[in-house]
């Protein structure tokens, strides 16, 4: 992963400076252009009409694979389940070794060491190409003290997590305590530091389904980036609606604008509800036509998904063989 974190002594001016009080943040966030929901959804719908065929489709399917955070976030997760997931991450399609690997596996805090162990040399931390992402900060609700959230984060980092997917305090956000949300992200980012001086990448989950409005999504996106998030992520997957194309499009517009203003590239991760290749490719179109093609890279875009992988594999098999595949021809986790 290239470093996309903020450089405090960078030459480019930060869009927001000074003490991060509720009032100061509110003034800044209220100054952002509004979002017209109808227009945003229409643009997303038009993006959805792009027809990606033949060679473009093959390339798009490989891209989707390489951007997946293969995820299991269940109360019933076990070492066996995680090992099975990791195995699939390493070898997505046993019948076709040319199939690219996913970007990461995404698990709960206490499953991180199982994932790291199962990955072995494939683990990004050991020079491999698959990262381990851990959800933290009292995922999915985030309703815990800051101390617990910090400990949660530190535990995951210590266990070898390369990436931390934190949740923001939606209650604080919706009641206007922007300073609290900001400070918490800053604190978690600090907790992402590793003993070797590096730090785990921080994905900030906005839980857009609970923020309710696009204006809130835009504000929360800016807030998360200002506070040091490396990625902004739509959802936990535990709240409906999870990722939608309009929400993701909006977040892509934010990272595009941030890049135009600061030169820094922030990643975007839609998560939850993206189950088909066709849907995933629409997201790629949105990425390419909004932030730009350079965002179609694991450093800057991820899909948080569990069943998407199987559909992509079946689509790839169809492209290769010319006939439709079936679920028995991909491996279950």
């Amino acid at each position: 992963m290239t470093d996309t974190s903020h450089s405090p002594d960078g030459a480019l001016a930060r869009p927001f400076d000074g003490p991060a009080t509720d009032a100061a943040l509110r003034r800044f966030l209220d100054g952002l252009p509004g979002v017209d929901a109808v227009g945003l959804e229409q643009r997303a719908a038009t993006i959805g009409t792009r027809s990606i065929k033949s060679s473009s489709k093959a390339a798009a399917l490989d891209a989707v694979l390489s951007l997946i955070d293969l995820t299991t976030l269940e109360g019933a997760d076990t070492r066996g389940r995680v090992r099975s997931l990791v195995s699939k991450a390493i070898t997505p399609d046993p019948s076709d070794p040319s199939v690219p690997r996913v970007a990461a596996v995404c698990v709960y805090n206490d499953m991180v060491h199982h994932a790291v162990e199962a990955l072995g040399a494939h683990h990004a931390g050991s020079g491999g190409d698959i990262a381990v992402a851990a959800v933290a900060t009292a995922f999915p609700s985030g309703r815990a003290s800051l101390a617990v959230k910090l400990q949660d984060t530190a535990d995951a980092v210590a266990a070898g997590a390369d990436e931390i997917d934190m949740v923001i305090d939606r209650g604080a956000f919706l009641s206007g305590r922007f300073g609290q949300v900001y400070d918490e992200i800053v604190a978690i980012k600090n907790a992402c530091r590793r003993s070797d001086g590096g730090h785990a990448h921080l994905k900030v989950i906005l839980e857009t389904g609970e923020l309710s409005t696009y204006d809130n999504v835009r504000k929360a996106s800016w807030l998360a980036i200002l506070a040091g998030g490396d990625f902004i992520k739509t959802s936990t997957g535990k709240v409906a609606p999870a990722a939608t194309l309009p929400v993701t499009l909006l977040m892509l517009e934010v990272v595009r604008d941030w890049h135009l203003g600061t030169g820094q590239r922030i990643g975007v991760k839609p998560a939850g509800g993206i189950r088909t290749s066709k849907d995933a490719i629409k997201y790629l179109v949105a990425v390419a036509e909004t932030a730009g093609e350079e965002w179609i890279a694991p450093t800057l875009f991820r899909f948080g998904a569990s069943s998407l992988l199987d559909d992509v594999l079946m689509q790839k098999q169809k492209l290769t063989s010319g006939h439709y595949s079936g679920p028995d021809y991909v491996t279950v986790v």
Binding site: P33, G34, V35, D36, V38, G39, L40, Q42, R43, T49, R50, S51, I52, K53, S54, S55, S56, K57, A59, A60, A63, L250, E253, L260, L284, A288, E289, E293, I296
Partner: protein, 498 residues
């Protein structure tokens, strides 16, 4: 290959089953005319599509006579509800043959299949559905308790939305009980002829709708025909003016949908990303061949640079090319003549000192193409700020205050449409109130619906199409029996009432 070089995704033309030539559709049959024939070509390839007839004055006379017989015969004996059922049949047949119609439209007109498939043809069906329901409720149309049809409507439509403009004209005319003679544009007759087939499939009474193909002479013969009671025209202001003169002094009722030079006003508190989409949709939809296109961007000075930068980025993702490719955003210019006009006005824009910009795009070798273009630094005195270009060319002007925006927006002989982009409701409503335009889109642009009246102020024409107002344009009021008798006895009398 970059991701954005989407592989070709052409819509198949196999669904089309075209004849090598088409006659005039008169009295329910395709018949030969005596005005010769001409080819219709694809503007994207300049390839021949089919051959159509050029209706002579005598052919028009036959068509008007057929319409008159139908109007005085079977059509007027039908109940309103049965008339409505015929229109419902059309709506359903259009839906059933939607893909075929969309392909034909894109082939003949050059517009992207995405638009013909997702906008034009669905709206055609919606238009017939909407007016079908009016046919047995005319007493509620706002023109008195017993309104009556006008008689034979002569309708002349343009090439930019060939089938949609046909629907805008024919649906309300038939719902009101009129018979119709319609002339499609010379360069885009194809879907009107397919529509004639649909009329046959719907088992329409002969003569209720007649379609005469041809050029300006055919149109002139139609609008001046003494057997025509109502003239409806959509097209350029110059031709509309000529038609208005031709029908002056007659008893013909007239509605005109003419040109425009719409202001699209972006305030500093606009939802910027959606405004950029609205600007793109406003001027590049249908290659800018739209009378209500947002061809004058008025952007508040404080956000000018941001808006233009974002607009340019967005324009760089527009795909120009094969109209039948499902990923095409901007198709072919409809004709060589129109391309020449767009080029000439753009050259004038450069000569007058405006700064021209287009994204890099490869245009096909054959056919008629023009890259999406914006001119910045345009002043109100520039011709590209005043003349309707009718192509994918945007003129960008600036303003400082809402009053200045209104003043510049209204500074045109046209008055068809306008756009407003702001997050502040009170300002939107106040600006909408001040704009002299028949359609104002706030935080959106180029939306159409059969329930929504459409039409212009000033030199953009008169009368409305769509909604109850559009229906009234095809009805005569009957305030009292005495008035009717007087009207018949003392023609000519009333002028426009819509």
């Amino acid at each position: 290959m970059t991701f954005l070089d989407y592989a070709p995704a052409p819509e198949s033309t196999a669904i089309l089953d075209l004849k090598s030539e088409y006659g005039l559709f008169i009295d329910g049959e395709f018949v030969d005319g005596d005005g010769g024939s001409f080819a219709t070509i694809s503007p994207a390839t300049e390839k021949h599509i089919t051959t159509v007839q050029s209706a002579s004055a005598a052919d028009v006379d036959r068509a008007v006579a057929a319409a008159r017989r139908a109007f005085e015969g079977p059509w007027s004996r039908l109940s309103g509800s049965d008339r409505g059922k015929y229109l419902f049949r059309i709506a359903r047949l259009v839906q059933e043959r939607a893909r075929e119609l969309a392909v034909a439209e894109s082939l003949d007109n050059g517009k992207p299949i995405r638009e013909s498939r997702d906008v034009d043809v669905p709206l055609v069906a919606a238009w017939f559905f909407y007016y079908a329901g009016w046919a047995d409720k005319l007493e509620h149309a706002g023109v008195g308790s017993a309104p009556r049809p006008l008689g034979v409507a002569g309708q002349v439509i343009p090439w930019n939305f060939p089938l949609l403009m046909l629907a805008w004209k024919i649906a309300p005319a038939l719902a009101a009980g009129n018979a119709v003679v319609l002339k499609p544009a010379e360069t885009t007759p194809l879907t009107a002829l397919l529509f004639a087939e649909i009329l046959q499939q719907a088992d329409f009474p002969p003569g209720v709708v007649n379609i005469v193909t041809g050029a300006g002479d055919t149109g002139s013969a139609l609008v001046t025909h003494p057997g025509v009671d109502k003239v409806a025209f959509t097209g350029s202001t110059a031709v509309g003016r000529a038609i208005a003169k031709q029908v002056a002094g007659s008893s013909k009722r007239l509605t005109l949908e003419l040109g425009g030079k719409a202001a699209n006003i972006v305030f500093d508190d606009a939802p910027v990303d959606q405004a950029v989409e609205g600007i793109v949709n406003g001027i590049f939809f249908n290659q800018g061949h739209v009378c209500c296109a947002g061809s004058r961007l008025l952007v508040q000075e404080s956000v000018h640079d941001e808006v233009i930068e974002k607009l340019k980025r967005r324009m760089a993702t527009l795909r120009v090319g094969d109209p039948l490719d499902k990923n095409t955003d901007i198709g072919a210019i409809n004709s060589a003549a129109q391309l020449e006009r767009i080029r000439a006005l753009s050259a004038i824009g450069e000569q007058e000192g405006a700064e021209r910009w287009s994204p890099a795009c490869d245009l096909p070798e054959n056919g008629f193409w023009f890259a999406p273009t914006i001119f910045t630094g345009v002043d109100t005195s520039h011709r590209i700020a005043r003349d309707e270009i009718f192509g994918p060319v945007l003129s960008v002007l600036t303003f400082r205050t809402p009053a200045e925006a209104i003043s510049k927006a209204n500074n045109t002989p046209y008055g068809l449409s306008a756009g407003i982009w702001s997050d502040k409701g009170s300002k939107i409503l106040a600006v909408a109130n001040e704009l002299r335009a028949g359609v104002v889109w706030a935080n959106t642009f180029n939306r159409f619906d059969p329930a929504s009246p459409f039409g212009g102020y000033k030199e953009s024409g008169y009368g409305r199409e769509g909604g109850r107002h559009g229906l009234a344009a095809y009805l005569a009021s009957t305030a009292g029996a005495a008035v009717v008798q007087t009207e018949q006895a003392t023609k000519p009398k009333k002028g426009r009432t819509t």
